[in-house]
Symmetry: C2
Subunit: 200 residues, 2 copies
Amino acid sequence: MARRTGLTRQEIQSTALAVGSDLIAKHGLSKFSMRQVAKEIGYTVGTLYNVFKNQDDFLLQINALTLNDLQCFIQRGLKPNLRGKNILLNIANSYYVFAKENYARWRTLFEYALAEETTLPKWYTDKIASLMNMAEQALSDMNLSSTQIQRTSRALWASVHGICALALADKLALTRSDPAEKLIRELIDKYFIGLTLEGK
Amino acid sequence: MARRTGLTRQEIQSTALAVGSDLIAKHGLSKFSMRQVAKEIGYTVGTLYNVFKNQDDFLLQINALTLNDLQCFIQRGLKPNLRGKNILLNIANSYYVFAKENYARWRTLFEYALAEETTLPKWYTDKIASLMNMAEQALSDMNLSSTQIQRTSRALWASVHGICALALADKLALTRSDPAEKLIRELIDKYFIGLTLEGK
DNA sequence: TTAATTTATTGAACACTGTTCAATTTACTC
DNA sequence: GAGTAAATTGAACAGTGTTCAATAAATTAA
């Protein structure tokens, strides 16, 4: 068989990514395979390799979708009329909720992109920078130097990430009275007290 | 062939783990395979499965060794005569250095232990608790409630972990003037200012 | 010393995996 | 309708984790 009328190259690509995303969400990255994706979209594995360079490429594009979803999720959760610290708290909470509700996909973001030393394409690192930029924006009207804004947004973003990672992996022995959300709030609260009081 | 005189079950186990640890350190977890380990220790894969339950079991024990190494490394780096915050800074720095110098093994700690939903054995979670306990000890003479000690040690531990993870994966766009060490110091400094000033 | 038993070790087998590529079939162009 | 270009296949290759009957050596019993 060959060239069926029906799906265009683009359509195959997007349905494959959608299906792959679903498979990861349902069964985790460890069960994921190119052959499974091929089977689910009704094509052969050969076709998949005609549209994607290899598995790395495929997963990179899956991650791109996840990053988009994450950014949208944070955007949508952004309550108006918040300023400075409260915007950061809002973002951090959304980050945690997204990571929790999309755990397998969120993990794939780091399990994979971090794995190989092949340098990531610019459009991908731009997506990450764009995320980080949300935090920087939140700090922009707070009378801080630009280096301090960068440092704060990076330190807090990475910290919140760490709390999410260990908490969701059940590595923090959290209690019902001390959930991850509380740790995140604590951290940001204390950090900001230090940040505002130090300069005086 | 069968039963050679020579290595005991225990010896096979420990040399296999040492070799496996080395392979991960050299080529990363993605290139690791049971067959490769078998070849390097001069046995067949079947023998490996006679000593280890499966690959999960093998990697869990590799991780146990890594956790031991990590704990020893932090212990040895502990400068005397430090108190409170400075002990935490000391621990956090050692954690970063260890993660950096043993990147592949350190990553395996989280890439694997977090992967499956099979509950970890108690002796393993105890090891983790023992690590966390170092941070709690550092806070013990600081006039904090026990819940505050727990909260602080967890929040900071996870935060430092997050900074290490993203920094070492080159996901923070760090500059020469703003390295990971500085972010860690900043975070702990600010947090502690908030911690001590808040109660007053 | 020999026979019986236990135990370590092997290596083939199974069902997977990512990846490649010649062959084939279809659609499009002239 | 012939010729070209492109899409699709499926077999092949080298690798993976895992199992298990067969085997060979060490240990024990007679």
